[in-house]
Amino acid sequence: MQFALLVNEGPYQHQAADSAWHFARAALAKGHGISRVFFYHDGVYNGTRLGVVPQDERHIPERWALLAKEHDVDLVICVAAAQRRGILDAAESRRHGKGADNLAEGFRIGGLGQLIESGIEADRLLVFGD
């Protein structure tokens, strides 16, 4: 079965990103697929590559990226929500003349249409938020 996930909160502050990741891992372990994880609202902060986390603590953005790499999961950060909150990839950064970008490897910027598409195509869409 194909799952799509919507993550509405940033890392650490709320448990939503943790719960979504644990669900994704458990689903993959059972042989299901995770077609896409879409990050909306403060969820876009999951895609930063500037986080500095103590060695003995979980690194939420890196954990997503690893999951995506190993299982070919599409990690999409909503462009509208991300711009408002200062999450930019290199192209966006250039376009807006910001001189720096902070999107982590493994994530990409996409539109709301990709969440709708996931909702239509996946067998189940689960929402994780606060």
Partner: protein, 101 residues
């Protein structure tokens, strides 16, 4: 069609748990995750309410339960304790998953 309802909020702090129980149709499933697990504690008002909702299939996520220092022995009767693997199975078994944020 059957729905799996997800509640991740403490019933003492927020209204999501109450609203979910008011809207879940008989026969549907309710899974308490994160701070939602506090809704199944014995000897509390929300727990009594959850225990009496026998028209629902009721589940609690064990990883979140244990993290918070509780176990199956603290829960009202009629509630099943499942792990993330069971969570996935529930999501497969129900055509619709609705989160109460």
């Amino acid at each position: 069609m059957s729905t799996l309802h997800l509640v991740n909020k403490s019933p003492f702090e927020k209204d999501a748990f109450d609203s979910c129980l008011r809207h879940a149709l008989p026969g549907s499933a309710v899974l308490l995750i994160e701070d939602g697990i506090y809704g199944a504690l014995q000897g509390t008002a929300p727990g009594d309410c959850f225990g009496q909702a026998t028209e629902l299939q009721r589940y609690v996520l064990v990883e979140d339960l244990r993290a918070r220092g509780f176990g199956a022995e603290h829960l009202v009767v009629g509630v099943q304790v499942i792990d993330y693997e069971g969570f996935v199975d529930l999501a497969v078994a129900h055509e619709l998953v609705q989160s109460w944020l």
